[in-house]
């Protein structure tokens, strides 16, 4: 199932690599396997989406990459080093904006700097630049409750980038937004990514979102999560929202959708809704 990207990705060095990653956890009824023999390789400046049905361990993947959860077999590596705990080279953006309501937007963006023990004064101007990048420079001294959901999530993105990590991990960052805001945010994220050129691991359950944003879309099977497809998206950038109706976009989406249809057919119907 490892496709042609393995050969042409050798041009750029790998930044984040999952090597035969397996993860079991104990439940009351015994041991559950969340991930099994999972291989994903993300190159420098590459935008990779991980697509999968609910409960396939997408978010677990993100916890492993951010060093919050150790693997039970195999390893996750960041620039060749096995990940053993939280790492300053990683930035995270969660499904919820998870901002601190008692801190201003700027203080929230600087939170990782304080947390990592870096000099806050030096990073202030970088934080302001990032707020500018996400079009929120006028709101630096506002509090999160004064911002809309989409704006809050953009603060979250700026926060994930503030310490200049190599990799940005995004766990369904737009899932809590309404459909219109979501589409705007897709365009915004593409622009931000094109300006910063970070490696991105983007976890989603939305096919159009994955196709629109990604260089590659990796599809996971139902639990235990394994890679069942690795699709390269070669559409030119910057991609426009209206491109989503193009034939190529449609073909990619259709292929991914077919994978889900097949999965639903083979799965126990009760599992599919879980």
């Amino acid at each position: 199932m490892k496709t042609q990207h393995e050969e042409d990705a050798t041009a750029l060095p790998s930044v984040l690599r999952f090597d035969a990653v397996g993860l079991n956890y104990k439940t009351r009824s015994g041991t559950t396997t969340a991930l099994e023999g999972l291989n994903i390789d993300i190159a420098e400046a590459e935008f990779v989406s991980v697509l999968g049905p609910s409960g396939c361990g997408k978010s677990t993947l993100m916890k492993i990459a951010s060093g919050l959860l150790p693997t039970t077999s195999g390893s996750a590596k960041l620039s060749g080093q096995v990940i053993t705990g939280p790492n300053p080279e990683v930035g995270v953006v969660f499904q919820q904006p998870t901002l601190l309501p008692w801190k201003t937007v700027l203080e929230n963006v600087l939170m990782p700097i304080r947390s990592l023990g870096l000099p806050q004064k030096q990073y202030r101007s970088r934080a302001m630049q990032l707020l500018d990048l996400v079009n929120l420079s006028d709101f630096a001294n506002n509090y999160p409750y004064e911002l809309s959901g989409g704006m809050q999530q953009r603060v979250g993105i700026a926060r994930g980038l503030v310490h200049d990590p190599k990799v940005l991990l995004m766990d369904e960052p737009f899932a809590a937004l309404d459909a219109m805001t979501r589409e705007t945010m897709m365009g915004e994220l593409q622009r931000i990514w094109m300006e910063t050129r970070k490696s991105v691991l983007f976890i989603t359950h939305s096919i159009p979102e994955a196709v629109f944003l990604s260089d590659r879309v990796v599809t996971l099977s139902q639990r235990p999560g394994r890679v069942i497809d690795d699709l390269r998206i070669d559409l030119p950038r910057p991609r426009q929202l209206q491109d989503m109706t193009s034939a190529e976009f449609g073909a990619h989406s259709a292929r991914l959708r077919q994978l889900f249809v097949d999965m639903a057919k083979s799965a126990d119907p009760q599992e599919a809704t879980a």
Binding site: S66, P86, F94, P101, L116
Partner: protein, 253 residues
């Protein structure tokens, strides 16, 4: 703002009517003043008291209440944080805390007076004990209720335990902690008065019990009115402090 003015207006009208009714009742039915003093007699007693004799007592009651409150709440916050953060300490302390919580604290007042005497320290200890639990419980629950997503976020950014406590858990629990502090300020006044009833040299509670011995019911009424005003003022101060400190809660819409 308009609604507030309206509320105040309504309160003033109903209050005046109530006092008038009380005055007429006492005069009409010739109620003896050792049973129910008229508002006039109560007012006179209050004015006389406030012209001088009350002040040492007000000061004694108020200082004991505030010292005890600060001590009890401070201990509650520190202990609450330690218990919420260290499961071993929680396991060790829980049975004692539950047992102590089950005792009506005022029942300990005579014992505390035997140990600590008729002065300020007995009252402070009593008040501190009464204030401790509402705050303690809210600190523990508030800290444990910290948003799991925010904890993941802090951990992903390598936050130290101290950073997590100071910048996440405590501010997150602030609203609950203040709810406890607000309950406790009213309890604190009760603690002081009860201890003063049992035995004390000075205090508004002492004045009430001595007025009872002299059947000076007008003076009792005057002090009760004074205590009501003090209680409302303390509660109101805490409410304002709560709103100021936990500003993000009241602004969330």
């Amino acid at each position: 703002m308009k609604a507030t003015l309206q509320n105040i207006g309504l309160f003033l009208i109903s209050g005046t009517l109530l006092i008038l009714f009380w005055q007429f009742w006492v005069v009409w039915f010739e109620v003896p003043s050792y049973f129910l003093p008229s508002p006039e007699a109560t007012g006179e007693a209050l004015l006389y008291g406030l012209s001088g004799p009350y002040y040492p007592h007000i000061w004694a009651t108020l200082s004991a209440t505030l010292y005890g409150y600060v001590l009890g709440c401070g201990l509650a916050i520190v202990t609450g944080v330690i218990v919420a953060e260290t499961p071993l300490v929680e396991k060790i302390l829980t049975p004692y805390i539950v047992a102590l919580q089950a005792i009506p604290k005022v029942a300990l007042a005579p014992l505390i007076i035997v140990w600590f005497g008729y002065g300020l320290s007995s009252k402070v200890i009593m008040v501190a004990m009464i204030c401790f639990f509402p705050v303690f419980v809210n600190v523990v629950v508030g800290i444990k209720a910290t948003d799991a997503n925010l904890i993941s976020l802090f951990r992903a950014f390598s936050a130290s335990r101290w950073m997590m406590l100071w910048h996440l858990k405590l501010p997150g629990a602030a609203s609950m902690i203040f709810a406890g502090l607000q309950v406790s300020i009213v309890f604190a006044l009760i603690g002081t008065i009860v201890t003063e009833f049992v035995a004390s040299k000075l205090g508004l509670g002492v004045l009430i019990s001595s007025s009872m011995t002299n059947l000076n019911v007008a003076n009792m009424f005057a002090i009760i009115v004074l205590l009501a005003v003090l209680g409302i003022a303390l509660n109101e101060i805490m409410r304002v402090v709560h709103r100021r400190v936990v500003f993000w809660e009241s602004n969330r819409n």
